[in-house]
């Protein structure tokens, strides 16, 4: 177990080397090489099925690589204790499960607790502090199923905070949540960034990606572009990544991809 200082001593360094994943013939991501320096705040954008979630799952060691390497601090992903926290998309969780908000956040501490030990008062302290940071402390005793989608998202963010990670991966945290949650999430990102945590966020919202992130990864199974937003969001690269999901209106780009179903493209 690592010591429970509040934030990372060794900064995170993330790298993919010729990484591919998925089934043969249907690669979820293909031949991606990328290096993310410690403390970077990175947005991952791309159309549905571009492999954003796959990328994250590779980095937490949830999916096996077909070829190439995924490295964290120079070691293969998945071999690090306490290092990476991951907040999955909302749909991947059974919200009717009988647990309350504090129970969920305390789960973030289980990695440090070992198998049989009960959470200490200090663990509770960390969990409650994480909830407070998400403006959720007043709902600590509520069943998770009674909360709104945005509140549930914030509980999961609090849980990721309670893990005190060096690297935080958020899969679509801005999709289908209320304004308050978006604001709290952005505030959290800024705060973590300041503390030197490496943060990767996948999003459909290109405007948000360009406004709040210093680095953008644009994916469509392959790596399309990686760099500062102004270098990545060029009409050429964006149309290369989004292809049919794209609408060009004068100088602005509209991506018709937010709800997950392909629809209305009469203008094209």
């Amino acid at each position: 177990m690592t010591k429970n200082t509040s934030l990372p001593a060794t900064p995170a360094h993330l790298a993919l080397v010729n990484a591919s994943a998925g089934y043969p013939g249907h690669p979820a991501i293909h031949d991606i090489s990328i290096e993310i320096p410690c403390g970077a705040l990175v947005a991952v954008v791309g159309p549905n099925g571009a492999g954003k979630s796959t990328l994250f799952k590779l980095l937490v060691g949830l999916l096996p690589l077909r070829s190439g390497q995924a490295l964290i601090h120079g070691l293969p992903a998945g071999s690090h204790q306490d290092c990476v926290a991951y907040v999955p998309q909302r749909e991947e969780v059974d919200w009717r499960f009988p647990v309350n908000v504090l129970d969920v956040v305390l789960m973030g501490r289980y990695g440090r607790l070992g198998w049989l030990k009960a959470p200490t008062p200090e663990d509770r302290q960390v969990a409650l502090e994480a909830l407070r940071q998400m403006d959720m402390a007043q709902l600590a005793g509520r069943p998770i199923g009674d909360l709104s989608g945005g509140q549930q998202q914030r509980v999961f963010l609090a849980r990721a905070l309670a893990q005190q990670p060096h690297i935080l991966l958020l899969d679509e945290p801005f999709t289908g949540v209320d304004i308050t949650t978006q604001e709290v999430t952005l505030r959290l990102l800024a705060d973590l960034h300041q503390k030197g945590v490496t943060v990767m966020v996948s999003t459909h919202d290109l405007k948000m990606a360009s406004q709040y992130f210093e680095t953008v990864i644009m994916l469509n199974k392959r790596l399309i572009a990686y760099g500062p937003p102004e270098k990545v969001f060029t009409p050429d690269l964006v149309s290369q990544a989004f292809q049919g999901h794209l609408l060009m209106l004068d100088n602005s780009v509209v991506v018709d991809d937010c709800c997950g179903h392909d629809h209305i493209h009469e203008e094209e």
Partner: protein
Amino acid sequence: MQWLTDPLQFAFMQRGLLAALMVGTLCSIVGCYVVLRSMAFLGDALAHAILPGVAIAYLLNGNLLAGALIAAVAVSLLIGFFSQQGTIKEDTAIGILFAAALALGVALISSIRTFAVDLSHILFGNLLGVSPSDLIFTAVLSAAVLLTILLLYRPFLVISFDPVLAATLHLPVTLLRNLMLVLLGVTIVISMQTVGVGLVAAMLVTPAAAAYLFTRRLSTMMILSACFGALSSLGGLYISYYANIASGSAIVLVATVIFLVGFFFAPRRGLIWRWLPSTSVVRQSKP
């Protein structure tokens, strides 16, 4: 009050009652995971999959319960193996292995002519035939399963609620999942004698589903479910004594009544509150 003590003058009734209480409690607690992880089909499948184990044990003149235990553990691990390869879904794996084991069991049993009596006991339970050694067997295994669940409460909670988090926390997810299957298998074997394999799925699912209607916390759900299970066993056994019906079915029917009461009248979640216009007042009075 004599009607309460009357049945207990027989030693076999005392043993039956103890066995029913232990099994009812155990099934109901393990059943919480069955309900929450949608493993009802698996429970039913495992219950039938122990048949070949029993038949082989009978052919070899071995202990029937030991045979059942080996079969249940083998089948649950096989189901885990097949579904974890990613080529077929878990319910498909269950369907295939369940049918195969049942077919093998029937094939074996059909070759044994003298098996008829014992078979009906396995299918429907024989609570009144519980021997003192059966009782010890039940007690020891129940205690082992409950102790495991108590000690591994948190890891089991995480793999049930959020397997993705479990993996990122580096919990041994596959090991824990297989262990849960083994616990389920053991529970089913223990239940064979009280409710029989035909009805054990009900004891796994019904009290836990009823408890789920009353609470939103796993620990409370487990305690409540255990109470419902024990109550069903107790009530069922008395009903079976006085109405002269099979004890297994009486127990399951009582559990079903408890579930139905919860389904309609549970605070907040009962169906009746949706029908009554006064619900909004109740909700508003909550802080």
